[in-house]
């Protein structure tokens, strides 16, 4: 498969899977304002996923539209990082997962908005506005929870530690990522990582949270289709109708 198509699928799948996780929380947030914000972020990510997947399908040229890509691939054909498929856990997990992702997403998509590829730059620029807000929100909440009560500090620190091992994959470039970087599309891994670490470090400092070691052991596999056991369940649920009623229009 073409590297650019693959790269677009990674972008699309990240947004799609995280959106799906957030949408599990509809009406179950810890405050009404959070309910609204969660749904809003889910909606933004879904919109972005649709743009990336549609573009991937067009480039691929096999007639797969956004729905064919979202609903008719099995887990091993999904290319999202492991981070986004992790379960919602308690709300600290949900927020820290979001913050880790948003920070990466912000710098990644920020770079894509400057990229040589016109269509990618266009989608990225459109998404960046939303992502800027996402990052502001999730960073702000991490600060407030880290520097809130003893309990919220503990929960947030635990979530930060537990999810840390899923953050490295984004910066471990493989041949596809490297090809995109060489083509002036993706940002260089080292730059992205440095930006991410700096931003997470700033927020954690403000949040009075201890930042886990950047050299800690990192899990990987999601980008190349080796996921955690969670993704299969997520897809079984998400894809049910398309699978059960093949060919139907909705």
């Amino acid at each position: 498969m073409d590297a650019k198509v693959q790269y677009l699928l990674r972008l699309g799948d990240n947004a799609l899977v995280l959106s799906q996780r957030l949408s599990e929380l509809c009406g179950k947030g810890p405050a009404l304002e959070e309910d609204m914000a969660l749904t809003n972020v889910a909606l933004d990510l879904l919109g972005q996923a649709r743009l990336w997947l549609t573009h991937a399908g067009e480039l691929e040229g096999r007639g797969r539209d956004e729905d064919a890509l979202a609903y008719l691939r099995d887990a091993h054909d999904f290319h999202n990082v492991l981070l986004v498929e992790q379960p919602n856990g308690n709300y600290a997990h949900t927020l820290v997962r979001q913050f880790y992702f948003d920070a990466w997403h912000y710098f990644q998509v920020g770079a894509l908005a400057q990229s040589a590829d016109v269509r990618i730059a266009e989608i990225a620029a459109k998404s960046l506005k939303e992502i800027t807000y996402h990052l502001r929100r999730s960073g702000d909440l991490v600060v407030r929870l880290g520097d809130g009560t003893a309990l919220s500090h503990e929960y947030t620190q635990t979530a930060a530690d537990e999810l840390w091992m899923y953050t490295g994959e984004a910066f471990q470039y493989d041949a596809i990522d490297e090809q995109m970087a060489a083509a002036g599309i993706a940002p260089p891994a080292a730059t992205l990582r440095a930006q991410w670490l700096a931003h997470v470090g700033d927020i954690f400092a403000e949040a009075t949270l201890a930042m886990p070691s950047p050299d800690a052991w990192m899990q990987k596999g999601g980008k190349t289709g080796r996921h955690s056991e969670h993704l299969g369940y997520l897809l079984a649920e998400m894809q049910f109708l398309q699978r059960a009623y093949p060919g139907a229009a909705w």
């Binding site: 799609l16 799906q20 949408s23 599990e24 509809c26 009406g27 179950k28 947030g29 810890p30 405050a31 009404l32 304002e33 959070e34 309910d35 609204m36 749904t39 809003n40 889910a42 909606l43 879904l46 919109g47 996923a49 649709r50 997947l53 956004e66 729905d67 979202a70 609903y71 308690n90 709300y91 600290a92 600060v143 407030r144 929870l145 520097d147 809130g148 009560t149 309990l151 919220s152 929960y155 649920e237 998400m238 049910f240 109708l241 398309q242 009623y245 139907a248 229009a249 909705w250």
Partner: protein, 311 residues
């Protein structure tokens, strides 16, 4: 009636809105708090039956529309709680009443959503009924409530249209999809009619609410409006309304329809609907699980207020 009460009623009769700072009878305040908060609670609990299908929406576009709808509902909850707060009660107190089972929410949300077609039926029938209930309230006597209703109704009419559009797609789809749509109509029809409340003959407190202009039409009038509006839509979809007594009455210029199963209505109201326990538990759990989160936000704000004061 005291002079104050007479002046109050005169304002209402003249079509002048009552605003929070105005004098109002305690019973008016209480009735409004009950009515507005029940509506707010319904918006909040109403997220759940739809949330049940958002993760399984059949296309990304439909998922996106459904997410937006659920977000609107949370938003409606927010304005309605704010409207209630103008009457001197806090959102937390209102939620407390919901969680303890003291306050009600619309019974319709105690029915399960069993197929994707239910997303269509809820938009079409439940939001459809809600709009019929709410449109008159845009002109109700209490200012903040009337303004909240104007905003809500605008969005609800989108939701109703989107629901109908789901039904339309199903009815134009495969035989299985059409059967799904019919099944959803079968399950949601009667509960939607029950949304208007007991028959006028058995409705308490209506007269006072009518006089105060916080109830502008009788339950039966509004229910008739719903039937009259919906029957042709069902016909257009090619679906059959599950009521053998349904028939156009040329003399009345309305559809006649069968007797509502009030025993079911009361059973659900008393907590015996298929999902009463789960809906309330889900909300209570969300609230309880979120305690540490809300506490943290308060603690953080206080700390930093102190920082600033100290600086």
């Amino acid at each position: 009636m005291s002079a104050e009460e007479r002046a109050f009623q005169a304002r209402i009769d003249d079509g002048i809105r009552i605003e929070p700072k105005d004098w109002m009878p305690e019973a008016y305040r209480k009735t409004l708090i009950r009515q507005i908060s029940q509506h707010a609670h319904s918006e909040i609990v109403g997220q759940l039956p739809e949330g049940n299908w958002v993760t399984r929406a059949p296309t990304l576009k439909r998922k996106s529309i459904l997410l937006a709808k659920i977000q609107d509902e949370a938003g409606h909850g927010l304005y309605l709680y704010s409207a209630a707060e103008t009457l001197g009660v806090s959102r937390d107190e209102l939620l407390q009443a919901l969680h303890s089972g003291k306050a009600k929410y619309s019974s319709i949300f105690n029915y399960p959503t069993l197929s994707w077609a239910d997303m269509g039926a809820i938009g079409w029938l439940v939001d459809g009924s809600a709009i019929i209930n709410q449109i008159p309230l845009c002109r109700c006597s209490y200012g903040p409530y009337s303004r909240a209703m104007i905003r809500v109704c605008k969005e609800e009419s989108f939701h109703a249209r989107q629901g109908y559009d789901i039904m339309l797609a199903l009815c134009n789809g495969t035989a299985e999809q059409k059967a799904m749509a019919q099944d959803a109509l079968n399950r949601w029809w009667w509960p939607s009619l029950m949304m208007f409340g007991p028959s006028d003959a058995n409705s308490v407190n209506s007269a006072q609410s009518t006089q105060w202009r916080i109830k502008l039409f009788s339950n039966d009038e509004l229910r008739q409006r719903m039937v009259d509006q919906t029957v042709p839509q069902a016909e257009f979809l090619g679906l059959t309304i599950p009521d053998p007594d349904l028939k156009w009455n040329a003399e009345r210029g309305h559809y006649d329809f069968g007797e509502i199963d009030w025993a079911e209505f009361h059973a659900v109201l008393q907590g015996n609907g298929p999902c009463n326990r789960e809906r309330l538990r889900t909300r209570v759990k969300a609230w309880d699980d979120g305690q540490w989160f809300r506490d943290a936000l308060v603690a953080h704000a206080e700390k930093h207020a102190t920082d600033k004061a100290a600086a």
